[in-house]
């Protein structure tokens, strides 16, 4: 076993010089910034955020304007990623699609997080029959492959982007619930929670004011990794015609629209798929780095 140096003590020419001690948050930030993969992930996410924010300035054409004489144009200086079956500029559609993907990721993960955190926190904190009921419900949800459950939910709710986000959000609930439950189980046994109980703190205040804020690390990691999964699932639904509907420039829907033209215009399929891949990769790389930073024990 190797001995690691104490982080806030510097040894310089035989003298021991004490430096200002770092908080746990700062330690995690330093660890995060030292990881090359998480930096790459962060850069990808930042580029996508900037693209979404300045989409009208970055796009070279209107993403919905059709030009039938220009259909299936190969990439050129006029259309850098070519045009689709209705002559729309693929680059501009991908640029505007960034907004939709970010929206999908945030809303779907928001739904999973709010419901999952609540269920997991209540189950972990109250235990006994509350825990049994909640966790059996979670077990039942986990018995379905997630994309299949999402497809079934969209099938009954109706195929559109809003319902796709809801379905993807619902199937993400079990992951959050399980992670939060186990975090709450360990935090609720700590002395400061015992102290809060001893001074007569109410359950709601102890749970949401003390226990949950101290269980945030795994929630943040799951949220970051969950955004990538949510985008992948929602794009899959749109690809099957169950998510975003035309003419919305959603990447999965763009792939679906272009699949018939793959023989003579592969760029219609290649670039939107590449955009999904980069987006998901960015969040996965960053999420991985975040997990290592917040919980160094998991590093290997």
């Amino acid at each position: 076993m190797s001995i690691e140096p104490i982080p806030n003590v510097e040894v310089e020419q035989g003298k021991v010089k004490s430096t200002k001690s770092r908080s746990l948050g700062m330690e995690a930030l330093f660890r995060l910034l030292r990881s090359k993969t998480s930096i790459v992930g962060l850069i990808i996410i930042l580029i996508l955020m900037i693209t979404a924010l300045f989409a009208p300035l970055i796009a070279t054409h209107d993403p919905t304007v059709q030009s039938i004489p220009n259909r299936y144009q190969a990439p050129s200086s006029e259309h850098i990623l070519g045009t689709d079956e209705l002559g729309r500029d693929i680059f501009s559609r991908i640029v505007f699609g960034t907004r939709i993907s970010i929206q999908i990721g945030l809303i779907a993960v928001g739904i999973s997080m709010v419901v999952g955190v609540f269920l997991g926190a209540v189950a972990g904190y109250f235990g006994k029959w509350v825990d049994q009921i909640v966790m059996r419900f979670i077990d039942i949800m986990m018995a379905f492959p997630s994309i299949l459950l999402a497809i079934a939910l969209v099938a009954v709710l109706g195929p559109n982007l809003r319902n796709a986000m809801i379905a993807v959000g619902i199937v993400g609930v079990p992951q959050f619930a399980r992670i939060v439950r186990s975090a709450v189980l360990s935090v609720k046994e700590t002395e400061f929670i015992e102290a809060a109980r001893a001074i007569g703190g109410k359950h709601g205040r102890i749970l949401f004011g003390h226990v949950l804020p101290n269980s945030m690390a795994p929630i943040i990691v799951q949220a970051t990794l969950g955004i990538g999964t949510a985008i992948l699932d929602a794009a899959g639904l749109s690809f099957l015609g169950l998510g975003a509907q035309p003419p919305t420039p959603e990447w999965g829907a763009m792939l679906s629209d272009g699949r018939a033209a793959i023989q003579h215009a592969p760029w219609v399929v290649a670039f939107p798929g590449l955009a999904i891949f980069l987006f998901v990769l960015g969040f996965n790389l960053f999420g991985d780095g975040l997990r290592d930073a917040l919980d160094p024990k998991l590093k290997e």
């Binding site: 993969t37 059996r136 419900f137 077990d139 039942i140 949800m141 018995a143 379905f144 492959p145 997630s146 994309i147 299949l148 459950l149 497809i151 079934a152 939910l153 969209v154 099938a155 009954v156 709710l157 109706g158 990538g228 992948l232 794009a235 899959g236 690809f239 099957l240 015609g241 169950l242 999965g252 792939l255 699949r259 793959i262 023989q263 592969p266 399929v269 290649a270 939107p272 798929g273 590449l274 999904i276 891949f277 998901v280 990769l281 996965n284 790389l285 991985d288 290997e300």
Partner: protein, 334 residues
């Protein structure tokens, strides 16, 4: 062991009941009248009433659920609204195609994933470790529907070396026995069909295997790294045993337990992922069946199919747990 298996089987009962309630509830989540949603706006009042009666939608929920569960327990999964055929019979025809694809994908994922994970762990921080772990990170981020389309473009359209869709080329004859085409062609000694079925399996199999392969590679690497630091590995090294024996007989055997859990979980995900893969490669399996049912608003097919897939998933996880206990008798369950 028998006691353990019995208790695990008993524990499955509430989960399976819950799964059936969730599958049953799906049709009641339809906004408005499910019969109207199925038949469309042009349906007459008489047609709507007839369908409501056929599906039993006029009865109280408890009665409806009781009937649903009763039929399932008797092996009756209902009738498809579109084809008017028994859903059970249709599923039995289509399940072999999906299971064959899922097993094929899982074999690819396990062989390549475990091998890559072992080499990456043994040669930690080498170029192979860096490349394989980067590729595996890419793998979990890949949209399989995009990968499938790109493979069709490269291998079918550009190089014309692999068939883009289906299970067999038109004109290739095969007498089916089990509906598992690879197995059937071996059983009947039909080598032309065997080669053709194998080539048809390659692209959908690889597309479906990508994500599990990446996850298995990462899990094997981390599990192997942990095991390789154990004292008994050092002892084996000190005894002068050959490296391959140490890695495969001593380390991998013990590192395979967490990998086994991942394999079990991924098999269920493969069944879900099959919906996308089968729709891309026009693979006539359960995934495509449920996809077409969704498009046609054939709710009974959607309900029954996801119920069957969930039940398979639950049983695969049970088998994984049993194997886990068999391979590591130290594990105790309450």
């Amino acid at each position: 062991m028998l006691k353990y298996i019995t208790s695990r089987l008993l524990m499955l009962i509430p989960v399976l009941i819950g799964v059936s309630i969730l599958a049953f509830s799906l049709i009641h989540l339809v906004p408005g009248d499910p019969a109207r949603s199925i038949l469309g706006e042009k349906a007459t009042a008489a047609q709507l009433e007839a369908l409501r009666n056929e599906l039993g939608l006029n009865d109280p929920y408890v009665v409806q659920y009781g009937r649903f569960l009763g039929h399932i327990l008797q092996g009756d999964l209902g009738k498809s609204i579109q084809s008017k055929e028994s859903i059970g019979v249709e599923l039995i025809q289509k399940l072999p195609a999906t299971i064959e694809l899922a097993i094929f994908a899982m074999v690819i994922a396990i062989v390549i994933g475990v091998l890559a994970g072992v080499i990456a762990a043994v040669k930690q921080y080498s170029w192979f470790d860096n490349i394989s772990m980067t590729v595996s990170l890419f793998g979990v981020s890949l949209p399989i529907f995009w990968l499938g389309l790109m493979m069709i473009w490269i291998f079918s359209v550009t190089f014309n070396i692999l068939p883009p869709s289906g299970r067999l080329t038109t004109g290739v004859e095969l007498n089916t026995i089990t509906n598992f085409y690879l197995l059937d062609s071996i059983l009947t000694g039909n080598w032309v069909a065997l080669k053709d079925a194998f080539l048809h399996l390659l692209m959908p199999g690889i597309a479906l295997a990508t994500i599990p392969m990446a996850i298995i590679a990462r899990m094997t690497r981390s599990s192997m790294l942990e095991v390789m630091r154990q004292d008994y590995i050092r002892t084996a090294n000190a005894k002068g045993l050959r490296k391959t024996i140490i890695i495969f007989q001593h380390a991998l055997k013990n590192a395979s337990l967490p990998v086994l859990t991942v394999v079990g979980l991924q098999f269920g995900l493969l069944l879900g992922g099959a919906v996308l893969t089968e729709s891309i490669f026009s693979w006539p399996g359960v995934g495509r069946y449920v996809y077409l049912a969704v498009l046609g608003r054939d709710y009974p097919v959607v309900q029954s199919t996801i119920l069957v897939i969930a039940a398979i998933f639950v049983f695969v996880n049970l088998i994984t747990d049993i194997l886990y206990k068999y391979l590591d008798p130290r594990i105790k369950y309450e």
